[in-house]
Amino acid sequence: MDAIETTGLTKRYGHGGPPIHRPGRKQAPEAPPALDDLAVTVREGEVFGFLGPNGAGKSTMIRLLLGYLHPTAGRATVLGFDSVRQSVQIRRRVGYLPGGIALYDSLSGERLLDYLGGLTGRPSTRRAALLDRLELSERTMQRPVRDYSRGMRQKIGIIQALQHDPDLAILDEPTEGLDPLMQRAFYDILGDLKRVGRTIFFSSHVLSEVERVCDRVAIVRSGRLVALEDVAALLKRRKRNVEMRLAGPAPKLAGVKGVSGIHQSDGRLTLSLEGDVAPFLAAIAGAWITDLTIEPAHLEEAFLEYYADDDARERRGLAGATVMPLREEPAQPQRAQPKPPPTEAPPDAAPKSKPARAKQADTP
C-alpha cells in the first residue's frame, strides 16, 4: 500500500463552480488553481521531498492531505484513507509539523507536549529520545513556551509531530530556525525513523537538505507538478562541471559522449559532463593534466534547470504544458515569438493538466 496517493488533485480557492456568464458585464477573471491536477504517489517507508518556491502549492497539498481543505477535483488517500471522508483516521496515524508553527505560549514545554499528546490519544513513546536528541533539558521544558527562542519552538514542533511514533510524518519546512548542529540531529532522527519503516513527507525549499535526506523528490510550480523522480537519478543525470589544467596539448573531447560546453583558455579547460564518466576518462587518458576538478552535481542545479526550462516555455506562451526538463531549449525573447494558443504546443509538450513527464517518472 502507498502511504500517499493523489489523482487529479486540484484546489481552487474562492468558488467551487465555473464563473457565471452575464452578458454585458465584465467577467471576473477566474483565480488560478492553487493546485492543479496533481498526481503523486509516496511509497511506504520512503523519505519524500516536496519542493517548490513560496506559493507553489506545497502547503495547500499538505492541507488537502490532512483534511484542512477540500479538493475542488480529484482525490487523495493517505495510508489508505480518503482525505475527505476519513481525515480523522488519517490524523490518528500521522504526525504533522506545520510551517512556522504557533504554540500555546502560556503553557510550559512539558505541559504543551502532554496536552497535544493527550489530544492525539496515543502514548508518547518517542518523546524522551527526541528530547535527548534535540537537547531540550528537563529545566527548559519547565519554562513557559513564551520564553522560548524560535529554534526551541521549532524543536517542540518537531517533538509534538513525532512523539507518538506516527506511521507517516508530514513535515512542513522542518529545519526552519534550527542551527546547523540541530539540523544534523534532526537528519539523524529522520534516518532512525526511516530505518524502522516510517514514511516521511518533507516539504522544503532548502535544496541541500532535501538532497541529503530524501529518496525521491517532487517539484511543484504554480500548483503543477513539474518533476517527480529519485533524487539519485536526478543527480545522476545532472551535468557536472569539469575543470582541468593542462601542461600540454588538450585532449580531443569533441564528440565524446556526455561532454558539452568545452571552453579552453590559457591552459585551462572547462566543460560540462553528463551521465557515465567512462567515455570522458578514456578520452583524457594520456593527456598532460596537472589538475582536475569534477564538481558533484547538486540538486540545486537540477532544480534551477527545471525552473529555467519552465520559464522559457512560459515566455513562449506554453505555461500550461509540462516541461521536458532534461532538454535544453534556448529561451526565446517574447517579441520574437508571438504567443501561440495552447493547442499549438509542440508534440513533445504534454497537454495541459496532464503532467506526463512527471507521471512517467513516477512509474517504477
Partner: protein
C-alpha cells in the same frame, strides 16, 4: 466531547472565571442591599412624581421591590458586560482567535473531528455562562438573606431566573461560536456578535424608556429575559422556548459550517 480539550479549556479560563464570578456575585449582592435600605425612599420619590415613570422601570426592573431590584441588576450594563466576557469574548475567540494566532493548526492535526472540537467548546461556553449567572444570583440571595428581605420572593424561583439568564447568554454564546467558526480572524466574529448584542440591548432599553418604541422590544433577545416576571408571576414558556430556539439555530449553523469550510494556511 473531547475530555482533554475540555479540561485544558477549563484550566486556561479558571482564573478569569473566578474573577468574573466574584465581580458578578458582588454586583448581585448590591441590588438587594440598595432595595433593603432605600427601597421605600425610592417608592416615595416615585409616587411624588419627581422621577419619570419610565426611568423607574429601566429594563423592566425597579428599585422598590426585590424582584424588580434583582431584574434591574440583571439588565444593568455592568451585568451585561461581565456576562459578555464569556458569552461574547470566549465564544468568539474560541476558534477564530486560535486560528488567528495559528494554534488551531496543531489542534486540528489531532484525530478529533471538527464537530467534537466545536461541541466541547460550546459546552465550556455554557458552563462559564452558567457559573457567571449563578454567581450573580448567589450574591443576590445571600445579600437578600443578610438584609432580611429574602422572604419577599420564592427563593426556589431563583433557579428559574438562572435558567432564563443561562438561555439568554447561552444563545449569545452560541451566536458568538457560530461567528467564530465562520471567520479566519477574530475581529469580524467579535464585531458581528457584539453588534447583535448591542443592537438587541439598545432596542430593549429604548422600548422600556420610550413607550412609542415598545414595539421594537420583541426584536431584542433581552426582551425574553424577565426576572421580575419569573419571580412574581412565573416563567413564560414562550420566552424560554424562543431563547432556546435561537441557540439551537446558531448551533446547527455552526455544525454545518465548521466541518465543511476550508481552512487555508494562516497568513
Amino acid at each position: 466531547m473531547n475530555l482533554t480539550l475540555f479540561l485544558h479549556t477549563l484550566r486556561s479560563n479558571a482564573l478569569r472565571l473566578l474573577v468574573i464570578a466574584i465581580a458578578m456575585a458582588a454586583w448581585g449582592s448590591l441590588m438587594p442591599l440598595i432595595y433593603a435600605h432605600f427601597g421605600s425612599q425610592f417608592r416615595d420619590m416615585m409616587n411624588s412624581g419627581l422621577i419619570p415613570k419610565q426611568l423607574a422601570q429601566f429594563g423592566g426592573g425597579d428599585l422598590f421591590s426585590l424582584p424588580g431590584a434583582i431584574a434591574i441588576g440583571f439588565i444593568h450594563p455592568i451585568a451585561i458586560i461581565l456576562s459578555s466576557v464569556f458569552a461574547v469574548g470566549f465564544a468568539t475567540a474560541a476558534i477564530a482567535g486560535e486560528r488567528q494566532r495559528g494554534t488551531l493548526e496543531v489542534l486540528l492535526a489531532r484525530p478529533i473531528p471538527r464537530r467534537v472540537i466545536y461541541f466541547t467548546l460550546l459546552v465550556c461556553a455554557f458552563i462559564f455562562v452558567a457559573v457567571v449567572i449563578g454567581a450573580f444570583l448567589v450574591g443576590a440571595y445571600l445579600s437578600a438573606t443578610v438584609n432580611g428581605v429574602i422572604g419577599e420572593i420564592p427563593a426556589d424561583r431563583l433557579l428559574v431566573v438562572w435558567l432564563n439568564g443561562l438561555l439568554l447568554f447561552g444563545a449569545i454564546a452560541a451566536i458568538g461560536l457560530a461567528a467564530s467558526v465562520s471567520f479566519d480572524r477574530l475581529s469580524p466574529a467579535l464585531g458581528i456578535t457584539l453588534a447583535i448584542v448591542l443592537v438587541s440591548y439598545f432596542l430593549q432599553i429604548l422600548g422600556s424608556l420610550w413607550p412609542d418604541a415598545q414595539g421594537l422590544q420583541p426584536y431584542s433577545l433581552f426582551h425574553y429575559l424577565d426576572p421580575k416576571a419569573v419571580l412574581t408571576t412565573g416563567a413564560s414558556t414562550f420566552d424560554f422556548g424562543l431563547l432556546a430556539g435561537v441557540a439551537l439555530v446558531a448551533i446547527v449553523a455552526a455544525l454545518v459550517i465548521f466541518p465543511r469550510r476550508d481552512l487555508a494556511a494562516p497568513s
